[in-house]
């Protein structure tokens, strides 16, 4: 048998081979495992859990000890086991590390168990695998599937492995698949049986499969796959269009069968299944430096302990000998480290994680960031960079789908040089557009639109629906009446051909079987969903009450239900919204796309006749060619026709001109091309997206010659993409221009306002788009990124020298601008606003030069001085390089926001990536750290949540450092009175409890819930955001002030009790009790002063902490007679609490310790009042002070006349 030969090949195709060879398992069904040809490939059982029951402890511990903090902890605990240096009972010293390790282990175990459960469920899912002995598909589990097995998937089942499609129930060999589980895209993807298997008759017989599958090694590219079937020296190529992906769902197809090529962990979906990214936030990396400061502090304190020496009586070491003083010093040093270890805030890391979890909870809960239409709330995909949102300096935004709706509407077209403006269509489009809000005069035009719709009885049922241009509609009908299909005159034919191209030349799938997809919502929900499609449509209903058009409006409101549930309604599934818009436009003119299969496409003409073209090939879209083509055979004339659509840059150079015989025609086509180009420029100026349409008749010979090349390219493994692209380009020559279309992409709501607010917040907004320069500039003006008064520099050249020469001049003029327009009031404070009036527009080609050469520096310089930057025609890679360049050169915090796959690079390159879940699938969301549904949500996300998160976390971290230093220093001061021996006057248990129970919850609550300025004020005054950009909340100085305060407070907490009890008969732990208590009060009240708004939760936690302290301490002192042998605090708390002195000491200590804290804000206030005396009107408080004032308390802030002055200024 021919398939036995590949086995040795399969064996030698080891790990170093670039391909994978798969043969059928069926002949080997009964043989032992080691004879199986595909045994080297991973099976289909997946295991995503890291641990087993037995390996959990060692592996988990190993992983935990990769963290430096844990090693430090263990080191300290280990030191305790050395008798010479131990400060505590060794066993007791193990407690903190054990607690931390256990908590982390429990968390890990729980997560792992969840993974295990989901794995088990998946592995146990039933599926159909072919069995030779039973001559049919039998039910197995997913985990039983091996590479080389034949698997059948029924409709609405999930595909268990990556399967090469060999058979489908559909007679055309097509299988539809929904990839929502993989990338979130809900449109159906078409998969095709490997070309030569189309002919195989139903039912499929795997036993007869005797070819060898050779394909690439497993990789994670979801959109790419190549390989070939080898049978009797014949190679049949296949690509991703024949691969069913694990995790996707089969739709619209009764059954699909194929051979498993990748299983389990080798499947593309599993290889794509990355863990959430770990990004380190800026505050955290800065914090690490502060931790080093603490290490330095600790070192100093231990050094003091080491050199401090006191003659001690009666205490020789355990051998009865005196230790040499140097050795004793080293011992003391180590002992001190153990005693004072808490100064390095290990628990801070855990607390920060908890705080961020809380912050993420509140961000996702925000109802303002909830999108009603998509029923989606804000998603935080990265859990640890919430506070970076408060420090953004540059926002890089995509245009399409991010600033705009990405709901394309057909607006205008030009056919054979004649422009059809579709004016009514344009007006109607504005009803629910944002323009309504800007132009009060629109109502008049709306009435004309209404009247028009009454006159023609046309109903707008969908926003994609197009109202045909009267002239065009008339000429189309006229042409059709005149001629029979296929025999149109030249002039008229182009009109028909144009619409045929619109209808055919795309990859839109027609779906009538909506019910099968089970995506129709329940009726209650769909009405909820549908009524408020847009507020302006409701307005329009009010305006036209009593007119016959009322029905029209009603209808429009419920379009979703009708188009989904209507029985004979044609439903289009388009991968790009442009295509959908075009197909709908063609439909409006009567050219309805009825059906599309790989082999044919049917269009109903306006006359009612249906043309069914045979599809010979589809040259799919790629961004290099920036066009797509379809090759069809006309049903009547049997001509082979190539329809191509694409961007004008990709089309215009490929038009026919030289091969024309008649010079007249030549000049005519040139005139048409020129006219069309003019129209295209006009469209672009209006902000429309343009596409050109061409047609070409291919002779049979040319086609078959080309086909050979094409098939060779398709079967290639090396450089396949390049070859395929080249063959496509070979075909797309000598095209005849039919016309061009202009598609409108409306701005999302509140985009200008959002950009304005971001700019006021000191955030530089850059738009990076793949669109044409004119389109992009137009959108930039309409979204207020550029202003009409702005000085706009446009870079559109490929000449390096030219740029080089122009740079100094440019920079000069930019600086000149600053000089003139500099606002004298703010001049001293914010150079950011001074660069008011320069905009920079860069074309993709120029951008490439700027990024590559040594022009980088100048470019970056220029960028810092520009108010707006707009890059057009950029590739995804360029987008990410711009982000990386500015990020690294300027050291700024960047945010990238986008919605499409082309934004993924940029989103990943930026510090913070935001994905918009829009029309173009979920790739951007999958790559992002935060996912929102509208651009306008960015405002609240940054200005409110970013500000809050940053300030909360910064305050929390500072407080944490302060808390640890304040508490540890108590112990340190005591060393001066115990011969630097490392004695703690506070029982070790209480020290643990202190950090674990008494003072842990308040700062965490503080980090999650404090709110120094309310959301409303933050949204009103975006300037307040600047504090975070310049790290106003978390400065080195703030840290050192907090540390100084901690030193002061610890001195007070130690020395007030010390002087009170000095010389008395007090014992160690009885002295420690008031110190501990006073310290607790100080730390808690310190936080109370820091808290800016008290809610119920604050009260409960703060009061609760104090109550817990007393309850736990009393209970411990009462119960523990000798739990902790050398140092037992038995009854000390009770003893102290029965002594009035205890209370007096605690009150005095707390008040004295907090006096500076209480005084500082007050002083601030009076100082700032002083600063804003009327005599110094011009000397407004600097923004920073303003913010400091705000942080004092919002209500107060609003009452001060500083605020009033500020409001006057901003008016």
């Amino acid at each position: 048998m021919s398939w036995i030969t590949p086995i040795p090949t399969a064996r030698c195709h080891g790990a170093d081979e670039p391909t994978r060879t798969v043969v059928s398992n069926l002949p080997y069904e009964d043989q032992r495992p080691r004879n199986q040809p595909n045994r080297r490939y991973a099976g289909n059982a997946v295991k995503t859990n890291k641990y087993t029951l037995w390996s959990f402890l060692p592996i988990n511990l190993c992983e935990q000890f990769r963290r430096l903090a844990n090693i430090y902890f263990v080191g300290i605990a280990a030191l305790n086991f050395i008798p010479e240096v131990n400060a505590f009972q060794p066993q007791v010293a193990l407690i903190p590390i054990c607690v931390i390790l256990t908590l982390t282990a429990i968390k890990d175990a729980w997560e792992d168990f969840r993974r295990y459960q989901s794995d088990r469920e998946l592995n146990g899912t039933p599926c159909l695998v072919y069995s030779r002995s039973q001559h049919g598909f039998v039910e197995r589990r997913w985990k039983d599937i091996q590479v080389g097995d034949f698997v059948q998937v029924l409709a609405n089942d999930i595909i268990p492995a990556d399967i090469l499609l060999l058979h489908a129930s559909d007679p055309n060999g097509v299988c539809h698949m929904e990839t929502a589980n993989l990338d979130g895209e809900t449109n159906l993807k078409q998969r095709r049986v490997v070309s030569s298997f189309c002919a195989v008759k139903s039912p499929f017989d795997p036993l007869s499969f005797n070819a060898t599958v050779i394909c690439e090694k497993p990789n994670n590219n979801l959109n790419h796959f190549k390989g070939f079937l080898e049978k009797d020296q014949i190679k049949i190529g296949f690509g991703i269009e024949s691969l069913l992906l694990r995790g996707c769902t089969v739709r619209n197809t009764a059954a699909a069968s194929g051979i498993v090529v990748y299983a389990g962990h080798d499947t593309k979906s599993m290889l794509n299944n990355n863990r959430p990214r770990y990004k380190r936030s800026r505050v955290e990396s800065k914090m690490n430096k502060e931790v080093l400061c603490c290490v330095f502090l600790l070192f100093c304190m231990c050094l003091i302990g080491a050199v401090g020496d006191v003659p001690i009586y009666f205490i020789p070491d355990s051998d009865g000998n005196e230790t040499p003083s140097v050795v004793a010093g080293v011992y003391r040093f180590l002992t001190m480290i153990i005693l004072l270890q808490v100064i390095i805030p290990i628990s801070l890391y855990l607390s920060i994680e908890l705080v961020k979890m809380g912050q993420v909870f509140f961000i996702t809960q925000d109802i303002d960031l909830y999108d009603k239409e998509k029923d989606m709330r804000m998603q935080c995909r990265a859990l640890n960079i919430t506070e970076d949102l408060g420090q953004i300096q540059y926002v890089f935004s995509d245009k399409t789908g991010t600033l705009t709706e990405n709901k394309m509407v057909f607006r205008r077209c030009t056919i054979m040089g004649t422009e059809y403006p579709h004016t009514e269509n344009g007006e109607s489009g504005k009803w629910n557009g944002v323009e309504l809000a800007w132009k009060p005069s629109v109502s008049a035009r709306r009435h004309t639109g209404m009247l028009w719709c009454i006159k023609h009885g046309l109903l707008l049922s969908h926003s994609l629906e197009v109202i045909p241009d009267q002239n065009l509609l008339w000429s189309v009908k006229e042409v059709e009446r005149r001629g029979v299909a296929g025999h149109w005159g030249l002039q008229g034919a182009t009109h028909l051909e144009f619409f045929l191209a619109l209808a055919i030349c795309n990859t839109v799938v027609v779906s009538t079987e909506t019910a099968q997809r089970q995506r129709v919502r329940d009726p209650v929900q769909s009405t909820l969903y549908d009524i408020p499609t847009s507020s302006s449509s409701v307005v329009s209903e009010d305006e036209v009450q009593g007119t016959p058009c009322k029905g029209h409006t009603r209808r429009r409101q419920t379009w979703t239900a009708s188009s989904l549930a209507g029985p004979k309604e044609v439903h289009y599934e388009a991968q790009s919204p442009d295509e959908a818009a075009l197909v709908h436009a063609a439909k409006a003119y009567g050219f309805t796309l009825l059906e599309r299969t790989p082999s044919h496409v049917s269009v109903r003409l306006p006359s009612g006749t249906t043309l069914t073209y045979e599809v010979l090939d589809v040259l799919t879209f790629d961004s290099v060619r920036s066009r797509m083509s379809i090759i069809v055979r006309h049903p009547h004339t049997k001509e082979i026709i190539l329809y191509t659509k694409g961007a004008d840059s990709g089309i215009m150079e490929r038009l026919q001109n030289s091969f024309e015989d008649r010079s007249q025609m030549k000049s005519e086509s040139r005139v048409i091309a020129n006219k069309t180009q003019k129209h295209l420029d006009m469209y672009a100026n209006d902000g429309l997206r343009t596409l050109c349409f061409t047609r070409k008749v291919v002779s049979e010979k040319n086609y078959y010659d080309w086909l050979v090349l094409r098939q060779g390219a398709m079967a290639a493994i090396d450089r396949k993409d390049e070859l395929v692209r080249k063959t496509a380009a070979d075909m797309e020559t000598n095209l005849t221009l039919l016309g061009a279309t202009g598609i409108e992409d409306r701005l999302q709501e509140n985009v200008p306002e959002t950009i304005q607010a971001l700019r006021e917040a000191g955030i530089q907004v850059c738009v990076l788009t793949g669109d044409k320069l004119e389109t992009a500039v137009n959108i930039a003006y309409s979204c207020k990124l550029l202003d009409q008064q702005d000085l706009v520099f446009t870079f559109n050249t490929e000449n390096t020298v030219q740029i080089q020469l122009s740079f100094p001049q440019l920079l000069h003029s930019v600086h000149g601008c600053r000089g003139i327009h500099c606002n004298p009031v703010f001049s001293s404070t914010c150079p950011a606003t001074a660069q008011a009036l320069v905009g920079l527009v860069i074309d993709g080609r120029t951008l490439g030069l700027l990024l590559d050469s040594d022009l980088q520096e100048g470019f970056v310089q220029l960028c810092t001085h520009c108010r707006a930057i707009l890059c057009c025609r950029t590739t995804p890679l360029q987008k990410s390089r711009v982000v990386t360049l500015l990020r690294s050169k300027l050291g700024v915090m960047t945010l990238a926001i986008g919605d499409g796959a082309n934004d993924v690079n940029m989103i990943q390159a930026a510090d913070v990536g935001v994905g918009i879940s829009g029309q173009e699938g979920m790739q951007a969301v999958m790559a992002s750290d935060f996912a929102i549904s509208r651009f306008k949500h960015l405002k609240k996300l940054l200005l409110v949540h970013g500000h809050w998160c940053y300030n909360r976390l910064a305050n929390m971290i500072i407080y944490f450092f302060y808390k640890n230093v304040a508490y540890v220093n108590l112990l340190f001061w005591y060393q001066f009175f115990c011969g630097f021996s490392g004695t703690a006057m506070i029982d070790y248990w209480f020290m643990i409890f202190f950090n674990l129970f008494f003072t842990s919850a308040p700062p965490i609550m503080f980090g999650i819930m404090d709110r120094e300025v309310s959301a409303a004020v933050l949204l009103q005054l975006p300037e307040l955001y600047r504090r975070g950009q310049h790290e106003g909340g978390y400065r080195r100085s703030t840290f050192w002030i907090a540390i100084a305060d901690a030193f002061y407070q610890s001195l007070v907490c130690f020395f007030v009790p010390y002087w009170t009890y000095k010389g008395s008969d007090i014992d160690i732990f009885t002295l420690g009790t008031p110190m501990n208590t006073a310290s607790l009060f100080t730390i808690i009240f310190h936080l109370a002063i820091e808290i800016k708004s008290w809610t119920v939760v604050h009260w409960v936690i703060m009061v609760g902490s104090v109550v817990v302290y007393f309850v736990v301490t009393l209970a411990f002192c009462a119960m523990c007679v000798s739990c902790n042998p050398p140092s037992d605090p038995y009854w000390t708390m009770q003893e102290q609490m029965s002594d009035p002195m205890f209370y007096l000491v605690c009150i005095l200590t707390t008040v004295v310790a907090l006096l500076p804290r209480l005084r500082f804000p007050l002083a601030d206030r009076y100082i700032s009042q002083f600063l804003s005396k009327p005599s110094e009107m011009s000397c407004l408080p600097r923004l920073g002070e303003l913010v400091a004032l705000v942080s004092l308390g919002e209500t107060y802030f609003q009452n001060t006349f500083v605020f009033r002055r500020f409001k006057l200024l901003t008016k």
């Binding site: 355990s318 993420v360 021996s981 708004s1093 809610t1095 038995y1130 009854w1131 009327p1174």
Partner: protein, 357 residues
């Protein structure tokens, strides 16, 4: 489905609503961070009266404390004997065994009772860590197993040179203060002993709960300690600490208990007895007194001093001026700050009003 599960597992935690219901977040005050919040505003209207009140309260407390402390009398008698003129100088040499010395003092007025009799040490680090851990809590709670097997923490006072277990073991016990005192009032040339009541000077919990003596063996207390030796520095075994009172022996000896409760600071005093009986129940009358000291505890080697302190106590304990003065100072400070703020406030309040017009 698994794809999403794995990827979004972290996010799912916050998805409180089920898949069937809408994803809309709950519009509650808590989740929307709209909880009614009280914002502490330190406005002049609150701060100035606040500071004044606190200041007044502190001054009040300060005065009470200061007056109380002033009422307390105390008398310190240093008997280290460093100076050659000191009566105890003779005992400072190493040769002196069972050295007795005598300190004289005179009271001009009545020393109001109850008078507490303390002994005090300075530069003595009872809080030194290795010293502080050097005891065996189980032994001291009367567990006879630990009589023969003292814990390692007691080393080097765990076993003596003959490898006999030491009871009570460890540095603390070994270094127990061994001077004894007798106080006499000189009445008409005759010495009249002032009774020092050594009972009840230790913590109640120490005496009743923490420490206990071993059970009698064959009716004899001493037998319970058979096989053990006394601490190296001790002259008598633990069961003979108080020859006058059989019940005040063993681990429950009051002086032993007081000693075992380690002092917090290197300068400390410990209660030795109370003068509350007989003729002296009202205090020590004016007159001449003689303090007879059995001087045996060496402190000069580490630069320490020894003293005897006579003091009467109030509700606030022994004499301590610090707290009263501190309260007075802070109270005054608060008042001063309130005044300053009032002045500033008054001044700028006017300018503020002017500006409003």
């Amino acid at each position: 489905k698994y794809k999403l599960d794995n990827r979004k597992s972290n996010v799912d935690m916050f998805n409180l609503t089920g898949p069937s219901r809408t994803n809309r977040p709950d519009n509650t005050a808590f989740t929307q961070q709209r909880l009614p919040a009280w914002q502490p505003i330190l406005s002049a209207g609150i701060v100035i009266p606040g500071f004044t009140l606190i200041g007044l309260a502190f001054i009040g407390v300060g005065v009470a404390l200061f007056v109380t402390s002033q009422k307390i009398t105390d008398l310190e008698i240093d008997y280290t004997g460093v100076a050659a003129t000191s009566p105890c100088f003779k005992c400072t040499s190493f040769a002196a065994e069972n050295c007795m010395c005598q300190m004289e003092f005179t009271l001009t007025t009545l020393f109001e009772g109850p008078v507490f009799f303390y002994y005090g040490l300075t530069s003595y680090y009872q809080n030194f860590r290795t010293y502080g851990v050097s005891k065996d809590g189980y032994q001291l709670s009367g567990d006879t197993y630990y009589f023969n097997n003292p814990q390692d923490s007691c080393a080097p006072y765990q076993y003596d040179s003959n490898n006999n277990p030491i009871v009570p073991c460890g540095s603390i016990a070994n270094s127990m203060f061994s001077d004894t005192f007798q106080l006499y009032q000189v009445v008409n040339g005759m010495k009249k002993q002032v009774p020092l009541d050594g009972k009840g000077i230790a913590w109640w919990t120490d005496y009743n709960i923490k420490y206990s003596n071993p059970a009698l063996v064959n009716g004899s207390f001493a037998n319970a300690f058979s096989g053990t030796v006394k601490p190296v520095n001790w002259s008598k075994p633990v069961y003979e600490l108080d020859p006058t009172d059989q019940a005040n022996n063993g681990f429950l000896n009051q002086n032993f208990l007081v000693w075992m409760r380690q002092a917090a600071l290197p300068k400390f005093q410990k209660l030795y007895g109370r003068i509350a009986e007989g003729d002296y129940a009202q205090g020590l009358p004016a007159g001449n007194y003689t303090l007879l000291i059995n001087y045996s505890y060496p402190v000069i080697s580490f630069g320490g001093t020894k003293k005897v302190v006579l003091s009467n106590v109030s509700w606030m304990g022994g004499k301590n001026q610090f707290l009263g003065i501190a309260y007075l100072v802070i109270g005054s400070l608060c008042i001063v700050m309130a005044m300053v703020m009032l002045i500033i406030y008054a001044k700028y309040k006017f300018t503020d009003d002017d500006e409003d017009m």
